[in-house]
Symmetry: C2
């Protein structure tokens, strides 16, 4: 027995509108239906104050309340942190998360995409550098850091602004001659914009700069060679270095120690990502911090809203700078 | 149409044995059935060379090929690494993994246990310090690091041997007066055996030792107080310290720097876990390394074999020592 006070159901809306239940479902889920039907359903929804479950919109009716995360691994601290915050964002919305540590295996990635196609999961959040991964536009898919194609929203940090911020910080800290060091994928991706942002910042602030960019697979020894070629009478000619990740910054600091250069006295270093020791302690280096929990929330929110086609293709979230011991802040250390 | 060469099915076995399909299923899954029936089924299996899917044994017939992992988070490097290796071990066996970062939330943990009870997942691998979590014996559950009750196998490192190894290493490295520092849960758990192992090692090797053990929630400042109370004329009276985790070792090293004590010149430090910078680079400190990938494989293998009741209650896997810069190895550095 339905009591007076219970919340109206989709059935009540159908009865009120004088249409089939399937018609109400179509309207609620944004599927095509004749205009007159749509109007009647919308009026009935308003009259009964029927509350549409926002997560029901856009996602297929046959929901599993399960979302898959494709991520290279959870050992790298940035991926580990991203995995945690996406997991938390899903769990608090009562969604389960399938974790797929891909190790960039195309077969595995494609398998999970196929699961989404067969409605075995409601959608996918994926960080993949696999150019051969085929993702149909019909699959609810949110890409992180690399655009996967039209109609697939991509969420990332504002990498350009982060690169620019690194240059501006080095300028603020008194640097005149700086370098940018990078390794990574040659595929078009958001993190690659760190370089352009840094160049822009150097131009704006009148810094002399050089770039050393290694391709995938080239050994880190190339950085050692590059840096030792820039030592003049025992002194590095750079007074500031921006490394594309904290991970690289860590390696570069070790190279500099080998070359008898002191950090930050001789050369200041800024990394990118915002990695902390043990995930929660102090920063590994002075760094441009990615807003990991905000990226996670945005991915989950966009995915569960559904209707990917109506979403912006690229969403860039603001980064910030944090002191981490490898720069010489003028007004005392900020922690 | 069945061809001559196709693999025999359970149906073929039932026909050959002259029993019902359900009887074959019971035999295959280790459920009780009359001895004469069992014999006939086993003979038919042998005659037809019927290949039992080993993962079908013990796990319920209504399989989801999905296993849930309960873990506090994936931000802490040890948990992140464990998550990765368990994920890989499951994926390579064509199992999916639901990740549940619990943040030690009892409600969440219990929800996943209930899912297992309702056959929504085939089993659970869980690292939890929640004394109130109710896990029924009928649920395929593998516990990590803390015994969850009878008939629930627990997989862990050999923590006692690890503690003993730490003491022996410090003795080998010339230490005479050592300390053991610990924080952590007061619940009975495997990592707590590090203390007893260390004590044993100290006794065997004739080391003088002191212990400082903080309870959950007590501030790290207590360690600073303890250590500064053991400074005599500017010099720490301990020449070796064993910390219960690498995480704690990292904090203790910072405290020692504050107290003007050099590591490893004045005092050598050994941690526990085997945490590496960025998950894959050098060790954070000299450390007793947990065999994370072996723990992961063991958990997955035991769970998918099923028949938890026939498994040993505790499985301890061997640890090893690795140099990580905070000890003074006599014969050059081992990396």
């Amino acid at each position: 027995m339905k009591t007076e006070n219970s919340a109206p159901t989709m059935k009540d809306v159908a009865k009120e509108a004088g249409v089939a239940l399937g018609t109400v479902s179509k309207v609620v889920n944004g599927l095509p239906v004749g205009d007159s039907y749509r109007l009647r359903v919308e009026e009935a929804i308003q009259k009964l104050n029927y509350q549409v479950n926002s997560y029901a919109q856009g996602l297929k009716a046959n929901r599993t309340h399960t979302v898959a995360l494709l991520i290279p691994n959870t050992v790298s601290p940035f991926f580990a942190s991203l995995t945690y915050y996406i997991n938390i964002a899903l769990l608090k919305r009562k969604y389960r998360m399938l974790l797929c540590s891909t190790d960039s295996d195309l077969g595995l990635e494609q398998e999970y995409v196929n699961m989404a196609q067969q409605n075995k999961v409601d959608g996918i959040i994926g960080l993949t550098y696999n150019p051969n991964l085929v993702v149909d536009e019909s699959i609810p898919f949110i890409a992180i850091d690399r655009s996967m194609g039209p109609k697939i929203p991509c969420v990332a940090s504002d990498n350009f602004a982060g690169g620019q911020l690194a240059a501006e910080k080095l300028a603020d800290l008194g640097c005149k001659n700086v370098a940018f060091l990078r390794t990574g994928s040659s595929l078009t991706n958001e993190p690659n914009k760190r370089k352009a942002g840094f160049e822009n910042g150097c131009l704006v602030r009148g810094l002399n700069y050089e770039m050393k960019i290694l391709n995938d697979g080239e050994p880190h020894e190339e950085f050692e060679k590059f840096l030792s070629e820039h030592i003049d009478r025992g002194k590095l000619t750079f007074d500031g270095i921006f490394c594309v990740t904290d991970d690289l910054a860590y390696s570069v600091i070790q190279i500099l120690h080998k070359l008898n250069q002191k950090v930050p006295e001789d050369v200041q270093i800024i990394g990118f990502d915002g990695i902390r020791h043990f995930g929660i302690k102090d920063y590994v280096c002075s760094t441009i911090v990615q807003p990991v929990s905000e990226i996670a929330e945005m991915c989950v929110e966009l995915l569960l809203q559904g209707n990917m086609q109506t979403k912006p293709p690229l969403i860039c979230l603001p980064v910030s700078y944090s002191y981490g011991g490898t720069t010489s802040e003028s007004f005392g250390r900020q922690e």
